[in-house]
């Protein structure tokens, strides 16, 4: 028995009349990670821990975790009670609450940086990091790593992106991940004009197998940046707190000048942070940057409770263990059925792909659709997320469902799996 979505479809039809795209952005089916859209629900009615229920009452074990924010579990009692207590005391007030300072102290001590600046979304802090770098260095060019994603602001886009101008991109330089020689060449060719290098700690691009840094890569990048007066920015919005609580730069054995956090910071309460080294604090003070809700106290209170919970539970080790349990179970089934399943990226943020010969992803999309229709919410071409509420029992149930889905997929392709 597989899921049906009549209420989801009806709600999407209503949404399409009053909201661009129905559901715009990365949570929407038009982004290319929910294929075919008929296999997916569109709207949730409730969520708890690692599970969510859609508006048709279908239950899912959710490995997208809100695309990252669900790190301690949906509706986590510890985080939510801290938020509720703060609501009673005030949220968006004329003066910021003292909890902002407490949160900054906890965060900087945890991620081993000297200061923290709070905003709301990942794009807020990546943009601020670029502005600080340009102001501090007096230079304008940005080095990106191909297949990057640092938000949707025009400086992150290509000239053909609707709403972006060629001029928005004329200071962009591009290098490949793990290619120190290529980076050296780009620096040499643009000497004295580069403000910053921005990259994710490993390549967790969509639509491609995820790639970890080669031995010595980040140390090489660090040295090149230092030698050439380039600010090294790590975008840890997706991977932050899932590999290490001290930041992914520490996890991979180097030190970023600026590092951005968002998703896993407050278990879904809306706050992002740019953390940096002392020498950039004055620049961060000088560049004008603010927002109406950036000092709301509730997310700070939630963030404090969340980080303390992650510390108390040695969260990264738990995420790794759950990721390994799940991916080894999936690989076991794949091996038994002769399905060429490829698992890449760190186990805590595993990425899946069934290899094909024509490079169309059609087989992978077919298997994923069968998983979703049976109650495991995973997407086609995005890394997945683990969280503290994910139990071994839920992982084993996931393996069972995904294995059944794989059997169905195999049965549908006798021309391949004889």
């Amino acid at each position: 028995m597989t899921y049906k979505y009549p209420n989801n479809v009806e709600m999407m039809n209503r949404a399409g009349k009053v909201i661009p795209s129905g559901v715009y952005g990365h949570l929407g089916p038009a982004e290319g990670c929910m294929i075919p859209s008929s296999a997916y629900p569109f709207f949730v009615s409730k969520a708890k821990g690692s599970e969510m229920w859609d508006v048709d009452g279908n239950r899912f074990i959710d490995y997208m975790c809100g695309y990252g924010p669900n790190v301690s579990g949906y509706c986590d009692p510890d985080v939510d009670s801290a938020a509720l207590e703060q609501i009673k005391k005030g949220n968006c007030t004329t003066l910021p609450s003292h909890v902002m300072v407490e949160f900054a102290e906890l965060l900087t001590a945890t991620v081993k940086k000297d200061w923290a600046f709070f905003c709301k979304n990942g794009g807020d802090v990546t943009s601020f990091a670029i502005m600080i770098s340009r102001y501090y260095t007096g230079k304008k060019k940005i080095i990106f790593v191909n297949n990057y994603y640092h938000g949707v602001a025009p400086w992150t886009q290509k000239p053909d992106t609707p709403g972006t101008l060629i001029d928005d991109c004329k200071n962009s330089l591009y290098v490949d991940f793990n290619d120190l020689e290529g980076l050296k060449k780009v620096i040499e060719e643009n000497k004295d004009d580069i403000a910053c290098f921005i990259g994710t700690p490993y390549m967790h691009g969509n639509f491609v197998d995820n790639v970890l840094p080669k031995e010595g890569y980040w140390q090489g990048v660090r040295k090149l940046c230092t030698d050439n007066g380039i600010i090294l920015i790590i975008d840890d919005i997706r991977a932050g707190f899932r590999l290490s609580l001290a930041g992914s730069d520490n996890y991979f054995g180097f030190e970023a000048d600026l590092i951005t956090f968002c998703k896993a910071l407050a278990n879904g309460y809306n706050v992002s942070a740019l953390c940096g080294k002392e020498f950039l604090k004055s620049a961060a003070s000088t560049v004008p940057y603010t927002g109406s809700y950036w000092m709301s106290a509730v997310p700070f209170a939630a963030g404090i409770a969340n980080i303390n919970k992650l510390i108390a539970n040695d969260a990264p080790a738990y995420f790794k263990a759950m990721g390994e349990r799940l991916t080894s179970g999936l690989l076991k089934t794949a091996n038994e059925l002769n399905v060429p399943l490829i698992v890449s990226g760190p186990p805590a943020l595993f990425y899946l792909r069934i290899a094909d010969t024509d490079g169309s992803f059609l087989h992978h999309q077919e298997w994923i659709a069968e998983c979703v229709k049976r109650g495991v919410f995973i997407t086609n071409h995005h890394n997945h997320f683990t969280n503290l509420s994910l139990t071994p029992e839920l992982v084993d149930e996931t393996i069972e469902i995904c294995s059944e889905a794989m059997s169905v997929y195999v049965k549908n392709h006798p021309e391949i799996y004889r």
Partner: protein, 255 residues
């Protein structure tokens, strides 16, 4: 967005005139007009397309010039001049076949003029006398769109960024159970085949002909249609994403 005359000339030749290939298949009167011609015409546009329009046995094909002997050789000194020819406000210079040219496209009753005028009228129509006529408009617009994606991707400065990121392979576009076209990326350029080919890497299919019309006319939100399943997409989504970025630019050339 400014219209680039060179890109427009390629769109006019391969996407607009190129759609005659399908027009004479779908429309009986057009087929009869085409049958009256067995002629190979070269349109040579300086700084623009250099291609052939071939009428043979009631079929039309529009292809790049391949050194073959032609009956008529028409020259345009610039893409801008060719675009005026397409608009009917200028005539090309006949290098070969002056009298054949006059017979072919010299007046409103000449076969080429009749064909292009009739097709243009159908594609530009806002009101239709029958569902068949409306559907034909949609089908022709679909083929023009598919060819337009290729020409805009190959020549428009902004669209070429997206074109360069499209991986090699086939992208199959279609109106479900009605008509299909395949865009092929090879050797750094896009080309179109006006049928669905096997071995596609990415697929975009309009759910039915009314949805296709609404989307092509810009009356429906494509993202909302993807969300609601009215526009089905699957396969290599990055290829489709880049094709869609080109498609966003196509309407400024295909008016």
């Amino acid at each position: 967005m400014a219209v680039d005359n060179k890109t427009l000339a390629f769109v006019n030749f391969y996407a607009a005139i190129g759609t005659l290939e399908k027009f004479v298949e779908y429309d009986e009167e057009a087929k009869e007009i085409a049958k009256s011609q067995n002629v190979t015409v070269r349109f040579h546009v300086k700084g623009g397309p250099d291609g052939l329009v071939i009428f043979k046995d009631g079929k039309v094909s529009v292809i790049p010039y391949d050194q073959r002997r032609v009956n008529i050789h028409l020259y345009c000194p610039s893409p801008e001049n060719f675009n005026k020819v397409v608009d009917g406000t200028a005539m090309p210079i006949p290098v070969k076949g002056l009298f054949k040219t006059l017979k072919f496209m010299g007046s409103k009753t000449s076969p080429f003029t009749r064909l292009t005028d009739k097709m243009s009228a159908i594609m530009r129509a806002k009101e239709f006398s029958s569902k068949e006529e409306r559907d034909l408009c949609t089908i022709l617009s679909f083929y023009a769109m598919a060819a337009g994606i290729c020409e805009v991707g190959n020549h428009d400065e902004i669209a070429s960024y997206a074109m360069n990121r499209v991986l090699d392979g086939k992208i199959v576009l279609g109106i479900k159970d009605v008509c299909y076209a395949t865009i092929i990326k090879k050797n750094g350029a896009l080309s179109v085949v006006r049928e669905g080919l096997e071995g596609g890497r990415a697929f975009m299919t309009f759910g039915d002909i009314d949805i296709a019309k609404g989307l092509i006319d810009g009356e429906l939100d494509s993202m909302a249609c993807v969300s609601s399943g009215k526009l089905e997409t699957c396969g290599h989504m990055l290829m489709l994403e880049n094709i869609n970025k080109i498609l966003n630019i196509v309407p400024k050339y295909l008016q």
